[in-house]
């Protein structure tokens, strides 16, 4: 188990965004979290990555409780993510964006930078060449010197993935990676996610596009109104009456 969530609850005032959600994630799989809008999927991601502190419950990442940790510690500890509403660093170059991903994998500070020591220069070179590799992997190396805000929409999503990969995570969280993509881009994205898995990383995605969800997931968790209503393989989920009800509404018999 790479990740284990136990009775996770997150409330905003009186609103229960997530209620006692528990699940386990095996190493090296692609897990999809699905559910209608407002089901608490993104809130769950925010809790997992430390952006929001959970109200109750435990999150064990590689058997270590991370529920009290800060976002940057979690990122350094091996969980990286992308955002639903793309959050690339717009006025920085594509390459710099990915170089920032390497932040917690490098250590040189202010003074070595000012002095320009050999160690500093070596580390910068290493960060740069690694960043270029991740850009290559995501298929956007040609844009390295472009400003991130000038990238087309689909490539900005790729950039976010490249940036998250540059943090060298063992668990990668993707929040609606296929949203707004055309069918061709979606296919390329599925290929990219599969390649990330083949690389030995565990991937959790939130996704509405059922072609993607059913096409690449090993396991699916369904949330509705903050509660986990089902989990299983893609085949099981497709035929689960609760899931159908949550998505399509209850069948009325007159």
């Amino acid at each position: 188990m790479i990740l284990e969530v136990r009775d996770l609850t997150k409330t905003f005032g009186g609103l229960k965004a997530i209620e006692e959600v528990s699940f386990r994630v095996r190493h090296g799989i692609i897990l999809s979290i699905i559910g209608p809008n407002g089901a608490g999927k993104t809130t769950l991601f925010n809790c997992l990555t430390g952006i929001l502190p959970p109200t109750k419950g435990r999150i064990l990442f590689e058997n270590e409780d991370i529920s009290k940790k800060k976002a940057y510690e979690i990122s350094a500890g091996g969980i990286a993510r992308t955002f639903q509403n793309i959050r690339v660093f717009g006025s920085m170059s594509v390459l710099e964006n990915v170089m920032i991903g390497q932040h917690s994998r490098s250590r040189e500070g202010l003074f070595t930078a000012i002095l320009g020591t050999g160690r500093f220069i070596r580390e910068e070179d290493e960060i740069r060449s690694k960043a270029l590799e991740y850009l290559e992997f995501a298929g956007i190396r040609d844009y390295a010197d472009t400003l991130a805000e000038n990238l087309p929409y689909g490539d900005r999503k790729r950039l976010e993935i490249a940036r998250a990969l540059a943090a060298e995570p063992r668990l990668l969280l993707l929040d609606e990676p296929a949203a707004g993509m055309n069918p061709q881009e979606t296919l390329e994205l599925m290929d990219l996610i599969n390649r990330i898995r083949e690389w030995g990383k565990t991937v959790i995605i939130i996704e509405h596009d059922m072609k993607v969800v059913m096409g690449i997931s090993d396991w699916i968790i369904v949330l509705d109104h903050g509660v986990k209503i089902a989990e299983g393989t893609p085949g099981e989920i497709q035929n689960n009456p609760y899931v159908i009800e949550a998505y399509l509404g209850k069948e009325e018999v007159f």
């Binding site: 976002a71 940057y72 990122s75 991903g101 040189e108 320009g116 740069r128």
Partner: protein
């Protein structure tokens, strides 16, 4: 450069002052060029003619005080002090995106600690300087505590308040700061036992510090620390999610920025031989922010350029008396409309 020419166009007819102004821009671009050349982390092969150009530009910069006369040398010294100050503010506002409107306070702290250390405690300029720098850096660090939780406009208000508090303390703590009377008889620096109080000496001293400041800030900009600051400016949540300890880096930015403000303050006190709270008002903070916005926010050459223009232009336009500030204001408004990114565009080309 074109825009600078355009801005100064209407005034070109006035005396030799305008010519001098243009000449100065060229001279000071030595520093810009120098930092461009040496500020790079990876040194690419410098084309021979660039080196030649740099050398050719050093000569007028060195010769400037000998040719320009006392008045403009005096203005150049002031411009240099403002460049250092603006570079510090640029770290906080330009790089890290923390809208700080009380930077005159750090400038004032630097000036006053230099003044007090030299007059009351009898230290020399050089021994007082490190203490001053440490002191202002600590002040920057301390202000970061309340400022950390705030973003955008809220931060601006808090820092504005901080600036006023420092000014009021300087104004009212009579027993230490001598209140509105200020502190006078601040000694000039000594080098090897000689008092170096001449204007020309200050010109070279300040120029040296301008070069160091530009060099250091430029290097830090293109380092892991600089990237972390930029990331915080762009998107704090995403920066945090990418493993950046945003608290730590905000502390660093404020201390680092205050450090340069302290240096500028110390030079100011030593140059004027006199400090009073009037020099560190809110308008001063606004003036510095104008410099970095005019020149090009987050760009080191831009900030240098902006400071030069905002210091020299009012001097050159002195003939218009009251209208000069009006012209300056109109110029700034026009800039914001037609070229909001500042005179010098950010260069995002990578060194490699």
């Amino acid at each position: 450069m074109l825009w600078c020419a355009l801005l100064s166009m209407p005034f070109m007819g006035i005396k030799g002052g305008a010519y001098l102004f243009v000449g100065l821009c060229v001279t000071y671009s030595v520093f810009i060029l120098l930092t461009h050349t040496f500020g790079k982390i990876r040194k690419p092969v410098i084309p021979a003619n660039t080196t030649l150009l740099t050398v050719l530009l050093i000569i007028p910069a060195v010769a400037f005080p000998l040719l320009a006369g006392d008045y403009y040398t005096d203005v150049a010294v002031l411009a240099g002090i403002y460049i250092i100050l603006a570079l510090g503010v640029n770290v906080v506002i330009g790089f890290s995106g923390l809208l700080h409107l009380g930077f005159a306070a750090f400038y004032g702290l630097g000036a006053y600690s230099n003044a007090l250390l030299t007059t009351v405690f009898g230290l020399g300029f050089w021994s007082a300087l490190p203490l001053t720098l440490v002191l202002t850096s600590i002040a920057g660090f301390l202000l970061a505590f309340p400022a950390l939780r705030l973003r955008g406009d809220y931060l601006a208000i808090v820092t504005l308040g901080f600036g006023e508090i420092i000014r009021l303390v300087l104004n009212n703590w009579d027993s230490v700061t001598r209140g509105p009377n200020g502190i006078s008889n601040i000694p000039a620096p000594f080098i090897a036992g000689f008092e170096l109080g001449g204007l020309i000496f200050y010109y070279y001293l300040v120029s040296g510090f301008v070069f160091i400041a530009a060099f250091v800030v430029k290097r830090v900009h293109r380092s892991r620390t600089g990237r972390a600051w930029l990331a915080i400016r762009e998107d704090e949540t995403a920066a945090e999610a990418m493993g950046i300890n945003t608290r730590k880096y905000k502390f660093m930015a404020l201390s680092f920025g205050a450090f340069w403000a302290g240096l500028a303050g110390a030079l100011f006190a030593s140059k004027m031989h006199f400090v009073s709270p009037e020099s560190f008002t809110f308008m001063e903070s606004v003036f510095i922010v104008c410099m970095i916005i005019l020149g090009g926010i987050a760009s080191v050459p831009g900030v240098i350029f902006g400071s030069l223009i905002l210091v020299f232009l009012p001097e050159v336009l002195r003939e218009f008396q009251l209208y000069r500030m009006l012209a300056l204001g109109a110029g700034l408004v026009l800039m914001m409309i037609f070229r909001p990114e500042g005179l010098v565009k950010k260069g995002y080309k990578h060194d490699s």
